[in-house]
């Protein structure tokens, strides 16, 4: 029984997705599995999926980042403004990826140095960054990008460009988490900060790294987002941090830290996107969908906490 539980916990995202796909097959027949809908799912999952990959690192350390929605809006406005002034896309991309990593790193550093809860630090960042994006754009949308984002709007080898970014991000994240010392230290930090410190790990540095990777992923998501909307909106992406956290949790990560995977988070994001699409296809009010999403998140967290020792909650 314990073994069965382990498998359910580990693969809950996949199990949920499998059930959902079976339901979809019964309800919509071939529509759901058409080529057009595959593109649709990929388009829809690109932004929350990329955010979820970054969020995985943060949640693995036992932290949380509430600032990603606001950060996405700010970087979205910066991408749009740079594109409008005809800066080469590659330069713009490098700049926002760097800026994302920097902002994320600052979050991580503040948490490490002040010993404040990640929840509070990133909540503050969420508020400030939202203000910054409105200041940056003088309260208005940034439009008139022309063809600047066209390279990112193409379909490459049968998949949207954004889907390739997401898939590569998942692959790289998986390698970093499983094959590098840094990755192992991220797991260790989430497992127990005190033990990691005793083992000689520089926990502050690991935390800064995890939050910086998260910020980098927000930069990627901002590029995808801008390619999709072709403008910059200071009020964009409200609540996206919660979508990302939900995807990570549904994908089998534990909010206590130390358990989770990038691939699982991707599956979680796909699960949520497919649920939304199925509801739209069946013409069901999207408020019903919000309710269902809440139930799914509760179930996912409950499943993760089953059989886990309470003492795993890190004492800081």
């Amino acid at each position: 029984m314990a073994r069965a539980l382990f498998w359910v916990q580990r693969y809950q995202g996949l199990i949920g997705l499998a059930i959902l796909l079976i339901v979809a097959a019964f309800l919509t027949g071939s529509t759901f599995f058409s080529h057009q809908n595959l593109q649709n799912v990929l388009n829809r999952v690109a932004v929350p999926g990329t955010l979820a990959v970054g969020m995985t690192f943060v949640i693995l350390t036992g932290g949380i980042d509430l600032s990603v929605g606001s950060m996405l809006a700010l970087l979205n406005c910066i991408v749009a403004t740079w594109c409008r002034s005809e800066t080469p896309l590659i330069l713009t991309a490098c700049y926002v990826l760097f800026l994302g990593a920097l902002l994320g790193g600052i979050n991580g550093a503040i948490i490490g140095w002040t010993k404040m809860q990640p929840f509070v630090v990133t909540l503050a960042a969420m508020v400030s960054l939202r203000g910054a994006s409105f200041l940056y754009t003088h309260n208005s949308n940034v439009s008139g990008l022309g063809d600047a984002m066209t390279p990112m709007q193409q379909v490459v080898y049968g998949l949207p460009f954004s889907a390739w970014i997401l898939l590569i991000a998942v692959m790289l994240a998986t390698v970093v988490l499983n094959k590098t010392v840094f990755g192992r230290n991220v797991f260790a930090l989430g497992g127990s900060e005190a033990a990691s410190r005793i083992a000689g790990i520089n926990t502050n540095r690991i935390r800064i790294g995890a939050y910086a990777i998260n910020g980098f992923c927000v930069g990627l998501a901002a590029l995808i987002f801008t390619a999709r909307t072709n403008n910059g909106q200071p009020g964009a992406a409200v609540g996206y941090e919660l979508d990302a956290i939900a995807a990570v949790v549904v994908g089998g990560a534990s909010l206590l830290g130390g358990v989770g995977s990038a691939l699982g988070s991707l599956v979680g994001a796909v699960f949520i996107a497919c649920t939304d699409i199925l509801l739209t296809l069946k013409g069901i009010d999207d408020k019903v969908g919000l309710g269902l999403k809440g139930i799914v998140i509760l179930l996912a967290v409950y499943l993760q906490n089953l059989g886990r020792d309470r003492s795993q909650i890190r004492s800081g």
């Binding site: 649709n40 949308n141 649920t275």
Partner: protein, 329 residues
Amino acid sequence: MKRLALLAIVIGSAAVLGCNKPADNSATDSATKGNTASSVEMPLVVFAQANSQDPWRQVFDAEMRDAYDKDFSKRIKFEEQDAQDDPTKQMSVIETLMLKKPKVLLVSPVDESLEQTLAKVYDSGVPVILLDRGVPGEKFTAYIGGDNVEIGRQAGEFMAKKLNGKGTVLMIQGTAAADPTKHRAQGFMEAISKFPDIKVISGDDCGYQRQKARSYMESFLQSGKPFDAVYAHNDEMAIGAYFAIEAAQAPKKVIVGIDGCQKEVVEMIKAGKLDATFKYPTPGVIGMDLASQIVEGNKTPQRKYVLPTEIVTAENADKYLAENPNLAK
């Protein structure tokens, strides 16, 4: 045992998700499969709404549902999805709705970033009818909406008459980046510019929200600057301003709002608390009618339909209530 129960819940909720609408679905399925002459599949018209939260859009939705139940359910099958004001969400909603192969797409775009998504739909041969908000470019079939500049102009003329051509007006503004805000200000200033003795103070951006307008009005009253009238870019803010003035027991001001979609506003006008509002007409029913006619093939739509406004004052408030049964509560 507990775990088994949980699994049962998971599967159960999936089943609920699945079974939520099977009746409706099997009806259309059997209609498609049973190819007898009597069962004809109704042409599908889908509607992607920007949001269903603000009072004006609630009336917009309610009028459409009403009209569908009464008149259109025999001609088309109608489905609506809301995007909660998130443009990327609306893109996904539209892409998903297209999988159902609708005959016409009605859409009230969240903002102009929907341009490419809508162009794709239009290029695939599905007529696109824009409601209330437009997108740049040429790739849509028709646009239906009110004229905010004209509404602003009429509000300005009314205000000038009310003030006998002399006084100070505080203009409480809507969301800064939004087109209606710019247009409602522009029309108003145009009309007022003919009256050199009327001064307009450009107030803060109160985001079309009652609570923000109230707080702003409270601090404006505190400042002691004299003014005779308030022009708010929507009724919610007009109500907020009224509450602040009433609570401060300040002398009565002329207060004019826009939208005319709430019963509360009309009642307040009847009671003399507010002076007037201008109806910002909802385009939903006309859009549905146009869609039905396109589906039936007996109409080449115009490019643009401009809906007229209507003033509501204490004199015609009762008549207005009777003519508009779907006003928000």
